[in-house]
């Protein structure tokens, strides 16, 4: 997960309930809240958004007034089909075993009845989901690291073993390649020759003195 903050989508066609949910859940500073009055809008946003929601809190009966609207259950199915990698908490205004069973059957994390303790339960669910998602992300990172390390160790071991078994495994030295050994010997010899340099310098110095003396005599004759 890129962010340690939890992005929560709240979806409810009941304006008062939506306002209350936003107000209550916004008290938790680690939650970022986005609210939607229809499942279609929430789904479209989740699909195209760069930062995907971590949790979608979805009302089960989104089409009680607007029969053409997609129901909460249908949105839940689409969230799972699209593999949006987020958990869905289903809200319902009535205690109904069919609603609960359907929600869980299609992959909802929890089914919460809209009673007075609903916001506390939803908040606790979101915290648990966020914690689990952080753990999963860390475990995934660790798995990738271990995999890369295993590959690197494997390659190193293969190279070492194949070299031990057959030193020419990676090919022989080309004939026209530079002879580093000879070069090294030549260099060593050059250094030895350089050791005689002071003698040569003395000789050069004597010649120089001699030339100066000739110039001096010539000047004297000239005068």
């Amino acid at each position: 997960m890129a962010s340690k903050r939890t992005l929560v989508y709240l979806v409810d066609d009941d304006d008062m309930y939506l306002k209350t949910a936003v107000h209550t859940l916004s008290q938790n500073r680690s939650f970022d809240i986005k609210s939607f009055t229809s499942g279609e809008k929430a789904l479209a946003s989740a699909k195209k958004a760069k930062r995907k929601p971590n949790v979608i809190v979805l009302d089960y009966f989104l089409n009680t007034e607007e029969s053409s609207a997609i129901s909460g259950l249908e949105i839940l199915k689409q969230v799972k089909q699209e593999k949006l990698d987020c958990e869905v908490i289903m809200l319902s205004g009535q205690e109904n075993i069919d609603v609960a069973v359907n929600s869980v059957k299609y992959g909802a994390y929890d089914y919460v009845v809209k009673n007075k303790s609903a916001f506390i339960r939803v908040q606790n669910d979101i915290k648990r989901i966020a914690k689990q998602q952080i753990k999963d992300a860390e475990a995934s990172k660790l798995r990738k690291f271990v995999m890369i390390l295993s590959v690197m160790i494997g390659v190193a071991v293969f190279v070492a073993v194949s070299f031990v078994i057959d030193p020419t495994f990676y090919g022989t030295w080309p004939e026209n390649a530079p002879d580093f050994e000879q070069n090294a010997k030549d260099k060593a010899q050059t250094i030895q020759v350089d050791d005689t340099a002071p003698a040569a310098t003395d000789s050069t110095s004597a010649e120089h003195d001699e030339a100066e003396e000739i110039i001096h005599i010539q000047n004297a004759v000239g005068r």
Binding site: D14, D15, M16, Y17, K19, T20, H23, F61, K114, F119
Partner: protein, 120 residues
Amino acid sequence: MGDYSYIDMSYLEELALGSNEFKIEMLESFLKSTPESIASMKGAMEIGDWKVVGGHAHKMKTSFSFVGMENMVQLSKKIQDLGLAEENIAEIPEMISELESTYLKAEEELKEELNKLQNA
């Protein structure tokens, strides 16, 4: 908090977490949406669309709970259940009539509370 006969602000007070602004917003929303929902419910009832009647009742049920109108929560639930199941629909008109008249009485108290909050 005022002493009212139809409403009880304690739940909304609890949810507001000290925010007057939130309470004002909720009461304004309730006073605007409830008459609209009752009108839509009556319209659906006239054309015999009982599922839509049930749908409106379902939404109103939650709204009534915010302002502590427990009797209206129960009444809405009955309308919702009968409407969505399309059962005993003959009972629904009388229930809607009761719901509307009780709301109109509660409306005065809601406006009074809203006025207090706005002048606080």
